[in-house]
Symmetry: C2
Subunit: 311 residues, 2 copies
């Protein structure tokens, strides 16, 4: 039996998975991400964990098809990270270094792109080869898959949907340095920001006014209870995200758009807002694009990383 | 010696090229596009022209690697046209029909995508594998190439850059039925429209007021003469197009953006307007994206069609 490793390197933990060649997840576990000293321990730690798991399972290098890595930074086609904020690395030839450390075949990709690949393989995008995934978490992550492959691009920065500009009048800065990025309105923090702005506009009664800690979850919980102000906020969010996705669909022509991240826990009610606005503005050829929720949760990264090897 | 045909089917003429396997264009010519009777004669006419050329050159089917077709309509990966406005066809299995007619291998793609492929192979995008091409003609056509291949998408409608929405306040309709499409501002007709709107705003002197037939060419000619009103119009055009391209670059991460079509005859002065605005709004990873003018003119289509075979 042949196996591969799917590994999702995050800023605080590294998620690790051992997969059979047919995609079955055999084992998964986590180790800590040690970012100190410019993150020099990260790849050696991952290598140790892999070797330990192999001896535990009685596997040799001959049984391993390779190791796939998802990394929270741009990653070029050659497996090079030009720079990274979260891990302490600067320029790093991840694929080459990891192949030298392990003596096994390695592929590396950006974590959001890799998660999209995972969702296409085993999750919300199953059965499709053209997909956009948008991850609504603290930020807005994106992954675009064309004909079964991630859009990596020249700098390894393909799929940065969260940093398309949706409001040229915005005066506050996004984390990326720009202004008016999709992330400023459609992430969990962005939705909270929309809610605060709306609540400050007037004094219309809303259960959101009783919330101690306003959040995207509180907004969608209130929507489900029919709260009018919350519905206004969700409508604005849906319009901004739906219109942005319509523009991306005109360029990428996906079969399906998968929505993931913490915000997606609100469930199918999201589509009432996002999909409706999408259809209003979509190019005619894209109007039947499907919407789906992500299904793999935190496992999307390890699954997609494995798929880098099993493609 | 092996050869292939690169064929660009337009609404009024079919451009045809015979290429050596190494990309050298050996011969090119045109035939009329007969769109009457639902365009039933088009593929048989092309077949006849191919057969005539082969006997003229003493070529047999064994010398021909295949026939590439560019078509002014969406074309799926399977070589199917779901529907077309210009040629009279409805649903048409172009690849299969053409293979039956000729007994040779056929590939088909959308004409704008195919032109982009041509520019990457032999024109303004040479040496790159990630490219956006935008063709500023009567409309705004687009082609996106990722890792050397056209973005075709689910419906064969990938790369429809001209129909991304750039102005949600627009009240006039685009030809596609939408409102606020890039095409309404950045095509030759779009630039003329911007110029008319600007001239109607006040009575500031401008050499454009003396033009009998206002056109994109007249606007850029006036820009070159330092006309202030024309510079304002060019600035607005550059902002709309540059900002739209910045958003597409965030998703596709191209190495180069190639500008083609009639408007591109204005030359490098275009970049002063488009590239400047692009850099203002581009995601940081995309700020060094190169800009280039298309180089192949009307031959981009036949070259790209040949490249569908020679890839």
């Amino acid at each position: 039996m042949n196996y591969c490793f799917g590994i999702d390197i995050g800023g605080t933990t590294v998620k690790m998975g051992l997969f059979q060649f047919d995609g079955k997840l055999v084992d998964k576990w986590e180790i800590k991400t040690r970012t100190e000293n410019k993150g020099e321990a990260i790849l050696p730690d991952v290598t140790k964990a892999i070797n330990k798991k192999m001896s535990e399972k009685g596997l040799t290098k001959d049984n391993i098809l390779g190791i796939g890595l998802g990394i929270p930074a741009p990653v070029t086609e050659a497996g090079i990270v030009p720079d990274t904020a979260n891990l302490g690395w600067g320029y790093k030839e991840v694929k080459r270094e990891m192949e030298e450390l392990t003596g096994m075949h390695v592929e590396a990709g950006n974590d959001a792109n890799v998660a999209a690949l995972g969702e296409m393989w085993l999750g919300g995008g199953q059965g499709h080869r053209n997909m956009i995934m948008v991850t609504l978490g603290t930020g807005v992550g994106g992954g675009v898959i064309i004909n079964g492959e991630c859009v990596v691009g020249k700098h390894g920065a393909g799929g940065e949907i969260g940093h398309t500009c949706v409001n040229y009048e915005e005066e506050e800065h996004c984390g990326c340095g720009g202004k008016g990025c999709l992330e400023q309105y459609a992430s969990a923090t962005g939705i909270t920001r929309l809610a605060k702005r709306r609540l400050a506009e007037d004094s219309e009664p809303s259960i959101l006014r009783e919330e101690n800690a306003l959040s995207a979850k509180a907004v969608f919980d209130a929507v489900k209870k029919g709260d009018r102000v919350a519905i206004e906020i969700a409508t604005k969010f849906g319009k901004i995200l739906g219109y942005a996705l319509a523009n991306i669909a005109a360029v990428c022509d996906p079969a399906v758009i998968v929505i993931g991240g913490g915000v997606s826990k609100a469930g199918p009610i999201l589509f009432e807002y996002i999909e409706k606005s999408f259809k209003e503005k979509a190019f005619f050829a894209n109007r039947d694009t499907k919407f789906a929720l992500a299904e793999l949760g935190n496992d999307a990264g390890i699954c997609g990383a494995a798929k880098l090897i099993l493609k």
